[in-house]
């Protein structure tokens, strides 16, 4: 009997020792990981920073055209009283739908009333893809960070880093993951995604040609207008109108890209005009100015053109008020 009690004591002691050692080790390694995550910033990837900044009064929403091409810093020269935040992502992640609308709701201050909202639209953002299950519940973005990140204003955002950051954690502090060949890819604190490719006109032309070719192929994956996505575009505008003034914008793209989009949805501008009349908001279509800007790859404005366009858009907003 005495032996039994003794063995139980030994078991208990060794188990306790084991548990305490493990907890200590987990705490030290967990703390180290947390410190590394704290280094995550605008170099981490194209989206992370947008989930770390505070809730906002005014937003830019849309695809990567807006993410790269609309520079809040340039706009503030014309609209100094409206610090606007770029909450645009990409064609893949942010077609209009429930996940994006829910994320926008999270990013906007609940009491925001006099904000300015730029809703960037293009045919890709309201189209249906082939083989896509799309209904009031199922959106392909559900499984992306838009559906998965519930806290969009916390730093470090562990939810994002652990579930949606696709790079290696070592790149968080080496900052080399997305920055190679002397390129600068950086998301500023105002949400603008700076893409400084630093390349020659010849290389730029090559990139434009290759992007146009790839979009010609991508275009075959799209099936034209999705009523559900169009409805969510309207719901997004409707929600933002409650918080301020909304402007629907179609940004300039390379003429060859525009041709692909005309093929994809010939009546896109007509549809947008109908939306603007229905919801009583301005629709600024800049596709007649495609030759006045430079593009990094055919559908994203380069830094100088982006700055120029941002000022132009801000002036148009001021003029319309």
């Amino acid at each position: 009997m005495a032996l039994k009690s003794r063995s139980l004591f030994i078991f208990s002691f060794s188990m306790k020792r084991f548990i305490w050692h493990i907890i200590g080790f987990i705490l030290i390694t967990g703390l180290s990981c947390y410190i590394i995550f704290m280094q995550a910033d605008g170099y981490t990837d194209a989206f992370y920073v947008k989930f770390t900044t505070p809730k906002q009064n005014s937003l830019i929403v849309g695809s990567s055209r807006a993410a790269q091409g609309l520079q809040p810093n340039s706009m503030s020269r014309v609209l100094p009283n409206y610090p606007i935040y770029n909450y645009a992502f990409s064609r893949i992640h942010t077609p209009y739908g429930k996940p994006y609308l829910e994320s926008i709701k999270l990013k906007l201050k609940e009491d925001s009333k006099k904000g300015i909202f730029i809703v960037e639209v293009n045919p890709w953002s309201i189209c249906k893809q082939k083989n896509e299950v799309l209904d009031s519940v199922n959106f392909r973005e559900n499984n992306s960070f838009l559906g998965g990140v519930k806290n969009v204003s916390v730093k470090p955002n562990l939810e994002y880093l652990m579930n949606f950051y696709e790079g290696k954690n070592v790149d968080i502090f080496t900052k080399k993951g997305t920055n190679y060949h002397k390129e600068i890819l950086f998301v500023h604190d105002d949400g603008w995604y700076e893409v400084n490719l630093n390349d020659s006109p010849k290389k730029r032309d090559q990139r434009i040609n290759s992007t146009i070719t790839s979009y010609s192929k991508i275009r075959t994956d799209y099936q034209g207008l999705s009523d559900i996505r169009l409805d969510y575009l309207k719901q997004t505008i409707d929600f933002l109108q409650y918080h301020g003034k909304v402007f629907m914008v179609r940004m300039p793209v390379h003429s060859n890209m525009l041709a692909i989009e005309k093929e994809l949805m010939p009546d896109f501008d007509q549809k947008m005009l109908e939306v603007s009349m229905e919801l009583e908001l301005p629709y600024f279509n800049f596709t007649h100015m495609v030759d006045q800007f430079q593009y990094t790859d055919g559908h994203h404005l380069d830094i100088d053109s982006g700055s120029k366009f941002s000022v132009l858009l801000a002036q148009k907003i001021v003029a319309s008020q």
């Binding site: 078991f11 188990m15 084991f18 080790f25 180290s32 290696k168």
Partner: protein, 478 residues
Amino acid sequence: MLFNSIDFAVFLPIVFVLYWFVTQKHLKLQNALIVVASYVFYGWWDWRFLSLIVFSTLVDYSIGLWLQQTNSETKRRSLLWLSILANLGFLGFFKYYNFFVDNFVTAFSFFGSAIQPNTLNIILPVGISFYTFQTLSYTIDVYRRKLEPTKDVVAFAAFVSFFPQLVAGPIERATNLLPQFYQQRQFHYSKAVDGLRQILWGLFKKIVIADNCAVFVNTIFDGHAGYSGSTLFLGAVFFAFQIYGDFSGYSDIAIGTARLFGFNLKQNFAFPYFSRDMAEFWRRWHISLSTWFRDYVYIPLGGSRGGKGMQLRNVLIIFLVSGFWHGANWTFIVWGALNAAYFLPLLWTNRNRKHTNVVAEHNKLPSVKELLLMGLTFVATVLAWVVFRADNIGHAVAYLKGIFQRSLLSIPEVRPSFLLLFILVFVFIEWWGRRDQYAIEKLWLEYPRWLRLLIYYFIIMLIFLYGVKEQEFIYFQF
């Protein structure tokens, strides 16, 4: 549930605490906890397929009892065949149905009769090849009267579904694992620490080595036409490390996890890339599968009893069946045949048991001859892995042709320096620990405790820093 997932990192401590703190004094309850935990672990992937495991468990448990109740050889043989048909029936349907239909259609089309194939959209249940073989070993051993059938259905269900090795082995024998469910397990600090150490090494192999190799392997294999011979060879070498890191990493995590719960599983990999010929390689690679085939297929076929010719035939069959076990694709069968082609000459000339000890067992470094033999064996293995990894035979042939060009001697276009450095360090550590069950089992034990902990901390940070997002284990698909 993946071992390299957050889900498992939460699941494991919960089960551990329940196992040692709540159910420790009640063996049946502890076994029941293992069953429930294993079903949750498996159901996390797809709960519908739990029914297959439950069915397999009930069939083999019942057949085991019936085998004990009868002495009629005819009846006993019928019961054995019933178990084999039930288990292999499921395996055949889920894994091979479409393969046979497609090949049947191709064969008939070749002779001019076009057939509309009636293939099905079948999901392959994870781990079916592993638990089917494990449960079959029980019935066969009971049939052979090597094992008393169990009357404890909970212990048997725990044996079939034991979560550490449920989905990718090691394929445990009932004679080794089942009796461990009958005995009270005792917690031992050193055993648990040893288990954690093995889990750590397994995670390193999987996340740092295998998953990082996979990135380059996928790029090179997918775009093989555009790469030089040297790059293609490097891609194949990366795949050799990917599959080793992936599968032996899984086995290490499985064995280490089992040790945390007081169980001993058999070693599944014994540093196969340090083999000096293919016979040694096959004694060191996926040991639990090789020995399963030896005991349950090779020996029933006659083994070596019918002379050299019979022995060669039986070994050839084992290699082909073993290849086919990996998947319903001709690439796996050809891979099996290729390995047989490597192995049979050794068997024919009675040199298949030349290297049964550990290479350079009493030395720090290998001799030049040993190094040369290891290098040759490794290259032969790498070339066979090309066939294994390829999408189809045409892909494999084109890839191998691509390797053997003049550009084989050029500098590879793809040279991930960090990965090459990791592989170098990894090979060095594996070499250092080659006499043990896993590389870091006894490594650094003579160092001061703080230094050892620092090394483990460093390995964890490497896993954290260089890990690629949760990647499935290759052997889940087999």
